[in-house]
Symmetry: C2
Subunit: 225 residues, 2 copies
């Protein structure tokens, strides 16, 4: 984590460094990011950089906390439209609000997801961060089972994996398509995009809602002639 000297900096200077870092990581990932470029982009000297941060990874870790803080702040300002939502409606709301957040901070999200999901495979350090979000999904599914919205015989771990994959896939897809647009936020909020997201989530939801017995019945019907 950054040293105190960094936090003492005037906000403008700190912002310039953060923005330079976001641009650099979004463009080059963690491994190929160049401290030299970050330093010259943000208008500070090499020595200062190493006075603020231990190294590149330290700076990136700081960006993670920035993302987390901004995201919490964003969700605080948005309340679920209703209190009587079932699990899938809630999940849909979470995904969509997350998507709006992504549109509001596209470069920050791009920088972090690039490192986390692409190089992440090989940086075991990030495994615990992923584990945390999976823990949340696990809880959601268990609660859904208790409420009778998901069949009790559903494999929780598998459902977690499906939901995680699905929400990552949607996020990536939206981010990639959105980056081609002039105004991401507008594009994400458009009826067409919203409907597309609904449809994709519907595919996942409908599969999960089905009972295990249903699966076995259907599956055997088609594999044993």
């Amino acid at each position: 984590m950054p040293r105190q000297t960094f936090h003492n900096l005037p906000e403008e200077k700190r912002g310039k460094i953060i923005n330079a870092a976001i641009e650099e990581f979004a463009e080059y990932g963690l491994e190929n990011a160049s401290t030299n470029r970050i330093v010259s982009k943000s208008g500070i000297s090499k020595g200062s950089f190493y006075q603020y941060f231990e190294d590149k990874q330290d700076l990136f870790m700081y960006l993670l906390t920035v993302l987390e803080r901004e995201k919490v702040e964003y969700f605080k300002g948005k309340h679920p439209p209703s209190m009587n939502m079932d699990t899938f409606q809630y999940f849909r709301w979470m995904i969509k609000t997350g998507m709006e957040f992504n549109s509001a901070y596209p470069r920050l999200v791009q920088a972090i997801s690039r490192v986390m999901f692409n190089e992440g495979m090989y940086y075991k350090n990030f495994a615990n961060i992923r584990e945390r979000s999976m823990q949340g999904l696990r809880t959601i599914i268990r609660e859904a089972i208790e409420r009778g919205e998901v069949d009790p015989s559903v494999d929780v771990e598998l459902a977690v994996m499906i939901m995680e994959t699905w929400s990552n896939a949607i996020s990536n897809y939206i981010l990639q398509e959105g980056m081609k647009q002039k105004d991401i936020m507008k594009w994400v909020r458009s009826a067409k995009t919203q409907q597309m997201i609904d449809k994709m989530l519907y595919v996942m939801e409908y599969g999960l809602r089905k009972t295990e017995s249903d699966f076995e019945k259907n599956f055997q019907e088609r594999t044993t002639p």
Copy 2:
């Protein structure tokens, strides 16, 4: 593509170079792969390398053709269990056979998917390769619609995206989990793993089988109280 001198090489030497390249790309991706390491691992000199290949990317492109050739060869040896399969059964067979291939050549597949899906986003050169596979899916879906297996009002592009994402996600998941095992092939073929794949595909399939009108009915029921 490699120069003739490379193809003239004795098979053993060629194999050593290919293996060294696979290991290097699997470990470091394209950008961070080091020709120096490849050269020393495969026991040839720097000069020879540049006599065989234009550069790193040239070598990687060659690996792509190796993968394609091996895959075609592998699928030739495996025939679909039945001729009377519906689209989803065929898709399932394709996915599973592809998975078996991945288990047979885990490092080669890892090397290529690491570059294609992780860094690939930023290497526009690979876009056409992806486009080709999407073209295949598009055809599959159109045929499924003609056969009445998928509702005609389904958005083909969306279905393509879902199937592509889904099959990539499963492949990546299996590859990642499989790499933790001693014997990948055995693990992939185990009843437990096979059933897991079936379940994941079932989620996708069940969502796609549903008609658009079904979606709209269900969707409105829950969003308009």
